[in-house]
Symmetry: C2
Subunit: 347 residues, 2 copies
Amino acid sequence: MAKKKSTSDDTVSKIKTLRKQEISVDTLTEGIFKGDKAMLAKAITLLESTQPTHFEKANAVVEKCLSRPVESIRLGITGVPGVGKSSFIETLGTTLTALGKKVAVLAVDPSSSLSKGSILGDKTRMQALSNDPNAFIRPSPSGSSLGGVAQKTRESIMLCEAAGYDVVLVETVGVGQSEIAVHSMVDFFLLLKLSGAGDELQGIKRGIMEMADAIAINKADGSNVEKAKLAVTEFQRALHLYPPKQNGWIPKVMKCSASENTGVREIWDMVEDFARQNKENGFFEKNRKNQNKNWFLQTVDDHLKQFFHQKPAFIKVQNELLKEIEQNKVSPFYAAKLLLDKITKEL
Amino acid sequence: MAKKKSTSDDTVSKIKTLRKQEISVDTLTEGIFKGDKAMLAKAITLLESTQPTHFEKANAVVEKCLSRPVESIRLGITGVPGVGKSSFIETLGTTLTALGKKVAVLAVDPSSSLSKGSILGDKTRMQALSNDPNAFIRPSPSGSSLGGVAQKTRESIMLCEAAGYDVVLVETVGVGQSEIAVHSMVDFFLLLKLSGAGDELQGIKRGIMEMADAIAINKADGSNVEKAKLAVTEFQRALHLYPPKQNGWIPKVMKCSASENTGVREIWDMVEDFARQNKENGFFEKNRKNQNKNWFLQTVDDHLKQFFHQKPAFIKVQNELLKEIEQNKVSPFYAAKLLLDKITKEL
């Protein structure tokens, strides 16, 4: 008996075929607009490529996708490893697709830059969601800098939205910088916590808690329920110590169990409440505009850098100076000055 | 009875006076070469300033300091909050000054970018060391990007070394990026751990453990001693799973108690063994050269950015485009392209 191929298998084999082909900007964009997952995946791969020709093409696709306005909610999700992010996303994602939504899951994961791992890594950790025709899961791009990784994720959000994904979940893990990056690209920022997870992370929590629009105490099941209730009260008290948010939103603390699927739907309802309230008072739009401005400024910096690094004269002088540094003939600091003097004199 | 002013008080009042004065590059550099802490602090402040004139001056000081070769050991120290980094540094630092060394303590702390806090924050956490005439403690610079913060720390290392500090401790906390930044500027990377601190950080640990030259199980005192011994064995086993380091060094696992001052001296002896071994096989020098090359490349990128952001024509177009983004007239992505086209056409 022939084994029936799953949708997921089909997509995977399609991606493999596409990988070898050169596809035009129009084909890619049309594919994305039709919601073709393989084309979407291919476009994101181009975006993440370091080859200049790929980069050009990816930019053209992003530009076209941006011309297509979409109603979406972008939800950032953070929490230390072990808090159950994958299963939370799995449960939330399948809840949302059951509601008729299309869900994209992206990740910003700087911690994997050395081990080349990824938070999402093994898609088996989100088995139901990765086989769901209305869900698209993309692991964290690998990259040498958090800025670069974050930038690509931001652009990937746009591509997903153009492909009709009206909920975009952006997962992250870490302390500080990666959360700040994700916070700067989402409408709502959710912090997952465990009850009684110890105080050793208190130092970390402060900055992150300040950014959170809600805290969800996960794994509130079995013998944990009582502890979770206590944690809810504690965190509510802690959140009162922060200055009120500009948009008037009071951060919520809720409990849930991703594995038993309790409380997750309530968290989504709260996110929708937030979106409604912020659309009414104008802060939803205002926040996105501010994010757009920052995105612009970051893109300019990234592209400026790229512009020089492609110039043969720049590369030549840079390589000469690298050799002199190797021979201890010049200090790195002075070498930088020499290179810049040379380059900027030519402008 | 008149209260005797401590050295520390004297330095503080001197810094306050210096803060108001414009001091020449030569005065600063001479002060640093003499080991004057107030001058060193002032120079680092200039380095951290965002004013272009300060930046120019700071660069000139760094350049002069780099011309003075120094024998030093740069030791990176990381670990989650609660692991006892401050007390470890306090104990290690006083041990080193007792050995006749001069110790500088710097920090890279991206987690504080929102709360404006600092790991070292309150110097009272290192009371003995901050009053020690042979120690210099500098909190983490605040900055908008980890890259910027790391860069300033790197340059601060050079200033401290020029001031005669032959051991530079660079403290950090975080997951991934900040550790990678610190790893890229030190000779030896030490990871502090607690025994039985739970598995929730396992996901984080992997990348960091890969970078560690040694793991120290801290708080190995009282009823913790047995657990710490077990942890040593476990981590030794875990470290065996990583590929061997290029320099031939086998990462060590040791236990210590900063509060009881046991095991700390042994850790320092190991660091010196490492330095000796790596100087003999050439990897110490090789590593520093590689770090210098990266430092050069990063400095070039930072300065290129700065160069444009100071140009009136650039600022003008950028502001116009920001307004258009605000009015939803142009996408951030396309706006970046417009600005770059304009700027690069003029080159």
